[in-house]
Structures are given as C-alpha cells and as structure tokens.
C-alpha cells in the first residue's frame, strides 16, 4: 500500500486528528496549573468518583434483582450504597455547578464544556427520577402516581408513562445511564482539550 493510500484511510486521518487535538500528555497530564490547588476544584472529580460507585452498585442490583435488594442484608446494603452514592453525586455536582457558574467557566472557548455539563445535570435528574419510580415499593408507587399528573399535563404521558414499571426501568438502567456516561466522558474530554478554566484576572490595582 502506498503512503498516499495510507494517508487517505479514515483510520489514519481520525488518529492524526485525535492526537493533534488531544495528545497523550494533555489527556493524562503530569501536573495542573497552580490555581487548581483549591478545594473548589475537587467537586468535579468527586462527582465522577460517585458516578463510578453508582454504576458499579447499579450493575450489582441489575444482576441480583428486586427480591435480593428488598429481602437480604447484603441486598439492602448494596441498595443503600446505590442511593447514598447518588446523594453524594448530586451533592458534589451542584457545588461543582455553583463553583463553575461563579468562575464563568464558559470563558475561553469552553462553552461546549459548560453545555455538556448542564445537559448531564438534566439527564442525571431524569435518571434519578426513573430510579425512584423503579424501586418496586410503596415509595415508588407514591412518586409515580404523583408524577403522572405533571407528566400528563405536558402531553408527554403517552410516550413516557411513569406508571409503566417496565418502561421506567429500561429508561433507568439502559437509555439514561448510556446518555449520562457518554455526556460525562465528552465533558471530561473537553476539559482536557481546553484545560481547567483559570480564575478571573486580578484588576484591583490596574488603575
């Protein structure tokens, strides 16, 4: 195969483009800028760590099923781990959001990073909601019967029926987790491409 032919292959072009945009030393850097040494910068990675625990415990719950998570000690434990990791996930994500909002983290061509973070937040709320209605207990029944009126008022109830356990469970364990994980991966890659947003320049003695 000639060099020109190799150059024209889509794999070659994609690899060159990807490595130019995100070289390995930028993807997994050795150091971070000095301004990152602040507690406010730890909440993004805390959210990511909580998401990993959410996915891992969710996989265990999917393997063993409702009888296990309702009726055994270890099932209760894993179920609680799933709930509390979600609590930490949202707790850290909201503080991360506040921090980035006040830093105006969309500066310097980072608007897509901000947008992917915002959309991930909305997808996460929907994922948590479908989780609440998929618990297979009285709490789930209460939440779904309350929510149905709101959803029906939007006209979406015919497509997104919160009283349909099978549909809600599929949204919770397939569609929404895929969306959340893909968006999170995209968000993290964009942070690596554009770098962590720097603080505002100190203009106090500019005059």
């Amino acid at each position: 195969m000639s060099t020109t032919e190799v150059d024209r292959q889509w794999t070659t072009r994609l690899r060159r483009r990807a490595t130019a945009k995100l070289p390995p030393e930028k993807l997994l850097p050795d150091t971070q800028p000095s301004y990152v040494a602040s507690w406010i910068y730890v909440f993004g990675v805390t959210t990511l760590a909580a998401l990993i625990v959410v996915i891992a415990t969710g996989c265990l719950l999917a393997i063993r099923g409702p009888q296990w998570w309702h009726g055994s000690y270890i099932g209760h434990f894993v179920n609680s781990m799933h709930l509390w990791s979600v609590e930490i996930f949202f707790f850290a994500m909201v503080i991360h959001l506040w921090g980035k909002y006040f830093m105006a983290a969309w500066r310097g061509g980072r608007s897509l990073t901000w947008v992917t973070g915002g959309v991930t937040f909305l997808v996460s709320i929907l994922t948590a909601f479908t989780g609440y209605v998929s618990q297979t207990n009285f709490d789930a029944q209460w939440i779904s019967t309350q929510a149905k009126d709101g959803i029906n008022a939007t006209g979406g109830g015919a497509y997104f029926n919160v009283l349909n356990l099978g549909q809600m469970l599929m949204w919770h364990i397939v569609l929404l987790p895929i969306a959340a994980v893909v968006l999170t991966a995209l968000h993290v890659l964009l942070v690596r491409v554009k770098g962590v947003v720097p603080p505002f320049a100190d203009t106090s003695d500019a005059s």
């Binding site: 000095s34 040494a37 602040s38 507690w39 406010i40 730890v42 609590e87 707790f91 503080i95």
Partner: protein
Amino acid sequence: MAWSASLAALLPLDHLGHYLHWHWLLISVANLTVIVLMVVTFIAALLLPFPGRRRRKESK
C-alpha cells in the same frame, strides 16, 4: 441487630417528615438540611486552605 435498632431509634425514618411552610414555600426539613449543607460546603471550599498550596508556591 441491637445496634441497628438503636440507630433506627436515633433517626426515626418511618414517621411522616417535618415540613416548613412560609406562604408559597413548602420544603421538608430533610431537603432544607441538604441545601444548607451544600451552601456550607461551598463556602468552606472557597475559604479553607488547600494542603500543599504554600509548599507549591515556595518551590516556584
């Protein structure tokens, strides 16, 4: 089992939740507690010194 029963007595979760109500605003004490904790954590994250920050500055 005894320790879990005493822990459950400390945090009774099988009762109706407590709610605070001002005009149009209705919020459970549990949700308000989480929001207050988030605000406190946010402020603490801005004010508390990060370990190793001074060492990093000195080494420059």
